[in-house]
């Protein structure tokens, strides 16, 4: 029960949407397809479903090539972003549609629709037409229709986009359970990085018509392959500072915005134009101590603190987002726990271990050198 996509290519006239995309989704796995809007996520799903006439390439379900088959013979369930419910049929008939197509007996249809409706808590609206449903109920009806036939492949196109925040959180908690129970190979499209991190066993980042990175959520966040991928993840977004690293014993010496960091990064980057990427939550802000020089450095924090001014502060969930301005007018975003010190001079420090370094020209991340290797060397 697996899904394999090989060399998928979609172009509309001269506009290349997907270029040679290949993916593998294991049975029971949820692969989140992530990318900014308009990047071709929906097109990729349509191509898998067989409703994208411009698609070239191979789609294999359970090792069987279904590329030449119509959407009705691929045995998959799909939830559309705009729900795509049948407006002239009641919710019950909407959900029953995949079973009707297979000629399942009426009594069994009744039972299976009832079961999936109960699971999604829409039993009480089964006799309503779609126009009488709230957005949340529409979305659950669309999801129920995708799940009811127990398809081998599930394609979910941003199903939580059009529902309110409360329901979105509820569904984010419920969906992993539902998807595990479905045991299908699932592709879940979203452009919300939190949703991607919460739901994905793996995340495939779609950028410029190709899969830029496909890995477990932690790896995509902590070790993005490129500056573009890094920029897509995180709220507030990561800080990018131009720099030119210098090789030094124990790593690369990077200076930017007054910070002096020693990064455990590969030395080939020395002397090249680079971008230093600092996630806002890896920046700490503290009260400036005494004269500044000669203060105790916290473990893992790079160099002495850089004096900064707090320009603005705004709460985000349980953290505070600070806009900092260092000498020379460089602005940085930091995300800290608790109230920032007020009315006193403050300094910022950055976590050297979690700092990212990118080649300014290619955008590729310069990988960390493993500690053990360094010791051996």
């Amino acid at each position: 029960m697996s899904l394999t996509i090989r060399n998928l290519h979609v172009a509309f006239r001269r506009n290349l949407v997907l270029d040679d995309v290949s993916l593998d989704v294991a049975p029971g796995e949820t692969l989140v397809l992530f990318g900014p809007s308009g990047v071709g996520k929906t097109v990729l799903l349509r191509a898998i479903a067989g409703v994208e006439p411009a698609a070239r390439g191979q789609v294999l379900i359970d090792g069987r090539d279904v590329s030449a088959l119509g959407p009705d013979r691929r045995d998959l369930g799909m939830a559309f972003q705009n729900f795509a419910l049948y407006p002239h049929l009641a919710a019950r008939e909407n959900i029953a549609s995949p079973l009707r197509a297979r000629g399942v007996a009426s009594a069994e249809i009744e039972a299976r629709v009832g079961r999936v409706a109960e699971l999604l808590r829409i039993s009480h609206v089964l006799d309503h037409p779609p126009r009488a449903l709230s957005n949340g109920q529409k979305q659950r009806t669309a999801l129920a229709r995708a799940l009811v036939g127990q398809p081998r492949v599930l394609l979910l196109d941003d199903p939580l986009r059009n529902v309110d925040a409360k329901l979105r959180y509820e569904m984010r908690l419920e969906l992993p359970r539902l998807l595990r129970a479905a045991e299908a190979a699932t592709i879940y499209v979203t452009q919300d990085y939190r949703e991607a991190m919460a739901l994905g066993d793996r995340i495939a980042v779609l950028h410029r018509a190709a899969i830029a990175q496909c890995d477990i959520p932690e790896a995509v966040y902590d070790a993005p392959v490129s500056v573009n991928v890094a920029r897509l993840f995180g709220d507030p977004p990561l800080n990018l500072l131009p720099c030119r690293p210098v090789a030094e014993a124990g790593g690369l010496r990077v200076e930017a915005a007054g910070l002096r960091l020693l990064l455990p990064a590969a030395r080939e980057a020395a002397g090249r134009d680079c971008l230093l990427g600092l996630r806002p939550e890896t920046i700490t802000v503290s009260r400036a101590a005494g004269g500044g020089a000669g203060t105790v450095r916290p473990a893992g924090a790079g160099g002495a603190g850089v004096p900064v001014e707090i320009v603005a502060a705004t709460p985000l969930h349980e953290r505070m987002v600070l806009l900092l301005r260092a000498a020379g007018g460089v602005e940085l975003l930091a995300s800290v726990l608790g109230e920032p010190p007020q009315g006193v001079p403050v300094v910022l420090q950055a976590d050297e271990q979690r700092a990212l370094l990118f080649d300014a020209e290619s955008g590729a991340r310069i990988p960390h050198v493993a500690r053990t290797l360094e010791v051996v060397a």
Binding site: R46, A49, G50, V51, G70, P71, D72, R73, R74, D75, L76, G77, M78, F80, N82, F83, A84, L85, Y86, P87, H88, S97, P98, R100, A101, R102, P130, R131, N135, K138, R145, G149, N162
Partner: protein, 285 residues
């Protein structure tokens, strides 16, 4: 406040009455004429209060017209039947041909698609008389002159472009995702077309069918040239009332009333259906 409300209501009622009188007066007058004898119709000054007579309707329904010059056979009921037959068959054929074509033009981009659609629309541009002369010559050659089939075929010039272009717009307005979803559920292309696309475009199809029925019903010149008496619809048949002994105004009026009735009934019936269809239109998410 209340006073000005009353004044407004009275003024609005007055304005509505004027508009209704303006538009419905001719029809009202015809209705009145249909219950008068020819002498009463021609009386000057015209009388508003008359002794109604059913003789015009009796003459039409029995097919015998008594005039000063003697009895005259009229084929009005035959003409009415021809009108029904021609209009219904033409619209039915147009729906069978036009709805799938409209779907194709709306959903698929194919070579020359726009050109074909425009060519079909251009049937409505040409003055009918321009095509009639060559058409009648051809029809005589291939034996289609003065046949129902030939007339229904020619009526496609009226009905098909109308249905095609109106229904196409409705298909284009409906999101293809709904049909895709039905296909993904495991239904065939044909079922998605008949179970999803057609019901969703239902109000549009009904409106287009109604309009083209009215156009077909009111057509005069095609049938005048291409058909002889026994195949002619009411529009042409009304000419028979212009007789050697004078114009039979009473019968003409009664004939008009009778020939309006089917379209009126259809319009009232379809109107209910149209409104129902429109309130169904909450297609968007």
């Amino acid at each position: 406040m209340e006073r000005s409300d009353t004044i407004w209501r009275v003024l609005r009622g007055l304005a509505l009455t004027l508009v209704i009188i303006f538009f419905l007066f001719p029809i009202f007058w015809i209705l009145l004429m249909s219950f008068e004898t020819n002498e009463q119709v021609l009386a000057i000054p015209p009388k508003l209060f008359i002794h109604p007579t059913l003789m015009n309707y009796v003459a039409l329904l029995s097919g015998k017209l008594q005039t000063a010059a003697g009895a005259l056979d009229i084929t009005f009921m035959r003409n009415l039947w021809n009108s029904v037959l021609l209009s219904v068959c033409s619209v039915a054929l147009s729906l069978v041909l036009g709805v799938p074509a409209a779907y194709a033009f709306a959903r698929f981009r194919f070579r020359g698609g726009e050109d074909i659609a425009f060519t079909l629309l251009s049937f409505r541009f040409a003055p009918p008389l321009l095509v009639l002369l060559p058409l009648s010559l051809y029809f005589q050659d291939i034996g289609l002159a003065n046949t129902y089939i030939g007339l229904i075929w020619v009526y496609q010039l009226i009905c098909l472009p109308l249905i095609l272009w109106i229904v196409r717009g409705y298909f284009e307005d409906a999101s293809p995702d709904v049909e895709y979803a039905y296909r993904v559920d495991g239904h065939s292309w044909w079922r998605a077309f008949t179970r999803i696309a057609i019901p969703l475009a239902g109000p549009g199809i009904a409106a287009a069918a109604l309009l083209s029925f009215i156009f077909a019903w009111n057509n005069f010149v095609f049938a005048l040239v291409l058909a002889s008496a026994d195949k002619q619809p009411v529009t042409v048949g009304a000419l028979a009332f212009v007789t050697a002994s004078g114009i039979q105004y009473g019968q003409i009026a009664a004939a008009i009333v009778l020939s309006i009735l089917p379209t009126l009934a259809l319009a009232l019936y379809a109107q209910r259906w149209l409104v129902e269809g429109l309130s169904l239109g909450a297609v968007k998410g």
